[in-house]
Amino acid sequence: DAGVTQSPTHLIKTRGQQVTLRCSPKSGHDTVSWYQQALGQGPQFIFQYYEEEERQRGNFPDRFSGHQFPNYSSELNVNALLLGDSALYLCASSMGRGAGYEQYFGPGTRLTVT
């Protein structure tokens, strides 16, 4: 049973560029959340997708956008990259419509903005 997968593993971009990160949820899961983890800090919630719609959003600017596909996979897009966007981006999947369900995390994508 494949767990949560993310691609790419590492990415280096220049300030001002745009980036797309991808996530495939664990089999049977229909909900995908994205988190940003800066070096030495805990993850911060970006947003969550359910039924192809953004269900909840954290305190991130509109430069951060996402999408969920009919097969439940998801993309995170970041426009106009800033140096401060350098971080580990984690995708987590879960099942169920309410809170309290275990969120299974992927290995993350390390984004470096130069």
Binding site: Y35, G40, G42, F45, Q48, Q56, A99, Q103, F105
Partner: protein, 114 residues
């Protein structure tokens, strides 16, 4: 606002001994969930243990147990018979029943001495 605080940046334990990691949280809701996640150097976040706030009984998972003090808003993790494989970053997280996002603390790095 929902907050999670981990006041121990780093802890050290001798192999086979017991260690307790501290966590305090704040929430205005009466229904919520608490979690401990482990993040080894491989970066993949793994759920260690989960506690529902309405349950008074402390959760246990093999060598891992929690001390949930609801009135004090405290949620500590006890690791018994520590093993080398327990070395990792440990994050405490909370989730309100009305929300889908996990709020993480800043983490505690656990070192295990052979």
């Amino acid at each position: 606002a929902q907050t999670v605080t981990q006041s121990q940046p780093e802890m050290s334990v001798q192999e086979a001994e017991t260690v307790t990691l501290s966590c305090t949280y704040d929430t205005s809701e009466s229904d919520y969930y608490l979690f401990w996640y482990k993040q080894p150097p491989s970066r993949q976040m793994i759920l260690v243990i989960r506690q529902e706030a309405y349950k008074q009984q402390n959760a246990t998972e093999n060598r891992f147990s929690v001390n949930f003090q609801k009135a004090a808003k405290s949620f500590s993790l006890k690791i018994s018979d520590s093993q080398l494989g327990d070395a990792a970053m440990y994050f405490c997280a909370s989730q309100e029943d009305s929300s889908y996002k996990l709020i993480f603390g800043s983490g505690t790095r656990l070192l295990v001495r052979p």
